[in-house]
Symmetry: C4
Subunit: 210 residues, 4 copies
C-alpha cells in the first residue's frame, strides 16, 4: 500500500509541488541575508566610528533577519506538516499554493523596510506594513488549508488528532497576527515583541494545548 | 508497472530534468522581489515625503512583481503538467528545456525595466520589451511541446483529453501574447491589462472551454 | 534489480549529491540575470538618450548572460550524464564535486567582468580571465571524471559506448577551451567567438563523431 | 526492508527536511559570489590603475569566497553524513535544523565583512566576528547531533564506527574553531590561516585518526 502510494501519479504531483515550494521558500529565507549590509566605517556619515559600534547599530537588520527567518521557517514547517497528509493535487490547490508562495516570496521586502526604518521617524509605518503582510499571508495559508479539507484532499488514513492539531494552530495564527497588527498601530515595539512571541510559541511541543 | 516506471533509468532522467527546472524557475520567481526596492524618504528627491506616500509610488514595482510572478508561476504549472506525461528524455529535449529556462530566467530583467519606466517617458518601450519577451518565451514553450509530441516522448497510456487540453492552452498562449504585444504598441496600459487578463484566465477550471 | 538499486543506501548518497549540485548550478545560472542591469536614461551620462538605444548598448551584458547560461547549462547536462552512471559516492567524489561547484558558482564573476569591460580599454584582460576560468573549470571536471573511472564508481552494467561518448567529449573540452584562451590573448573577439562555437557544438546529436 | 524504509511516512519526513536544507545551504553557498564585485578601473579612486592590478587587489574577496565556500561545503557534507543515519524526524529536530540553517544562511554577512576590512584598520574586528560566527555555528551543529543521538533518531542498523567517526569530527570542530577565534584575537592572519587549515583537514580520508 505504502509502495503504491509512493509512486502513483497523484503522489508524483504532490511531490513536485512540494519540491517547487521548498525551492521558493528556501530562496526567500536565504535572500533575507542580502538586506544585512556591511557598514562602511571610513566613508560618509560613519567616518571615525569604530566597526564594533557600526556593527551594533545594525541591530534592526539582525532583528529583521531573525524574525523573518523564524516566520518563514515556521511557514515551511507548516507546509511540510500539511502536505504530508495531502494525497492528490487539483488545479485550485496548485493556484492557492502559488498564491501562498507569492505572499512568502514578498516577505523580504517588508523585512527590508523594517530594517531601514526601525528607530527612525517612520518606524510605525514600517512595523504596520510588516505586521499586515504577515497577517495577510496567514490568512492565505488558512484559506489553502480550508480548501484542502473541504475538497477532500486529505489522506483518509490520516490520524484525526494530527488534523486537529493543524486546525488549532491555523485558527490561532491569524488571531495572533491580528493582535500583533493592532499592537503595532498603538505602539510599534509591542507589535514586534508580539511577532517574536508568536514565533517562540511554535517551539512548544506539538501536543501542547496551545 | 507504476513501480517499474517510477525507478527505471529513463524516469530518473526526467526527474532530474524536472528538479533542475524547478530550481531555476523557483529562483527566477523569487529573485523578482529584489527589484522591489525600499524607498529612502529622508534623502535626495524623496526628502519630506511620508513613507506611506513613497510606498504608494512603488506601485509599478508591485505590478511588475505580481504580473511576472503570475506569468512564471503559470509557466511552472505548465512545465509540471507537460512533464508528468513525458516518459523519457532525449538530447534535444534537454537542449530545448535549457532554452526554455534561458527565456524564463531572463524575465526578471524586462520586469525591472517595466517597474523602472512605467509612468515615465519611455513607458511604451518598456511595455513592448516585456510583452515581446513573454511572447518569445511562449513560442519556445510551444516548440518544446511540439517536439515532445512529434518525438513520441509522451507516455502512451496518457489520457487523450489531457493532451488535448495542453494543446488547446498552448495554441491559445502565443495568440494571446501576440495580441497583448500589439496592444502594448498602440497603448501600453492596454497591453499590460491584457497580460493580467491572460494570467487570470489560467484560474479557470482545467475543463473549461478556454 | 532496478528497484533495489533505486532505494539502496549508496544510491541515496548519489541522489542527495545530485540534488545539492542541481541546486548550486541552478542558482549560479539564474544569478547571471542580476548582472544585466536596467539602464537609467534620464540620469547622468545617459541623459537624453532613448531607452531603445540604451538597451542596445547593453549587448555585452546580453552576450555574457547568453554565453555563460550556455556554458553552465552544458555543465549541468554533463553532470547529469555522468552521475546517472555512478552507483556510489566516496569521500573524494564529494570533495571533487564540491571543487567543481566552487568553480561553477564563481562563473557569474568573470561573466560580470566581461559584460563590464567588453568594448572598453581592458577588454583583453576581461576576455582572458573569462576564458582561463572556463578552461580551469573544464580541467576540474575532467579530473572528476577521471577519478570516477579509476575508482570504479561506474555502474558495471553501463553501456561502453555511453562511457566512450563522455570520454570523447571530456577530452575535447579542455583542448577547445585552451584554443579559445590562446585566441583571446591574440584577439579577444576571436576568443569569445570560439567559446560560442564550443557551446553550439554541444547541440550536435550525441552520436555525432565530434 | 530497504523498500519499505524508502517510502514510509517517517522517511518522507527526513527527505523533505533534507531537500529544504539542501536548498538553503546551496543558496547560501552560491550567494557568496555576489560579494565579489567587479572593480571599476576608470572611475573614482581606481582611475588609471590597470584591470589586472585591480583584480589582484580583490584578493580579500577571493579569500572570503574560497574560505566560506569550503566551510559551508563541509557543513553540507556533514549534514548529508548525519541525515543518512536518521530514520525519523521530531518537532525538535525540525526546530534545531532551522536554527542550524539560520546560522549557515547568515555566513555571507561575516564573509562580506571579512572581504571589506581585510588589510584595513578594522581587520581584527572583522576576523573576530567571522571566527566567532563559525564557532557558534559549529556549536549549534554539535547540539543538533547530540540531540539526534540522545533522542534515539539514529537507524539502529547503523554501523557503530560510522557514528564514532561523526562523533570524533564533531568533538574536534568546536575545539578547532575556538583556537582559531583566540588566534584571531591575538593576530588576525593566524586566525584565518587556522580556519583554512581546519577546512583542509577535512580532505583527509574518513578513516584517518583525525
Amino acid at each position: 500500500m505504502a509502495i503504491v502510494r509512493g509512486l502513483a501519479g497523484n503522489d508524483r504531483d504532490t511531490s513536485r509541488l512540494e519540491a517547487f515550494s521548498d525551492g521558493v521558500i528556501a530562496i526567500a529565507i536565504t535572500l533575507l541575508i542580502l538586506e544585512v549590509r556591511v557598514p562602511h566605517v571610513n566613508e560618509g556619515e560613519l567616518d571615525g566610528q569604530s566597526l564594533w559600534s557600526a556593527l551594533g547599530d545594525l541591530w534592526p537588520s539582525y532583528l529583521g533577519y531573525g524574525l523573518s527567518f523564524a516566520v518563514i521557517g515556521i511557514m515551511w514547517a507548516n507546509h511540510h506538516a500539511i502536505f504530508k497528509h495531502i494525497v492528490r493535487t487539483t488545479h485550485y490547490l496548485v493556484l492557492l499554493n502559488l498564491l501562498l508562495l507569492f505572499m512568502i516570496a514578498f516577505i523580504p521586502f517588508p523585512t527590508a523596510l523594517l530594517a531601514e526604518y526601525l528607530t527612525h521617524d517612520n518606524e510605525r509605518t514600517a512595523v504596520i506594513v510588516y505586521a499586515a503582510w504577515i497577517l495577510a499571508t496567514a490568512l492565505v495559508y488558512n484559506g489553502l488549508w480550508r480548501y484542502v479539507r473541504t475538497a477532500g484532499l486529505i489522506d483518509p488514513e490520516t490520524d484525526h488528532t494530527a488534523v486537529a492539531t493543524i486546525n488549532r494552530r491555523f485558527n490561532m495564527g491569524p488571531a495572533g497576527y491580528l493582535i500583533a497588527l493592532i499592537a503595532a498601530i498603538i505602539w510599534p515595539p509591542a507589535g514586534l515583541a508580539l511577532q517574536a512571541i508568536l514565533a517562540l510559541l511554535y517551539v512548544l511541543p506539538e501536543n501542547s494545548k496551545l
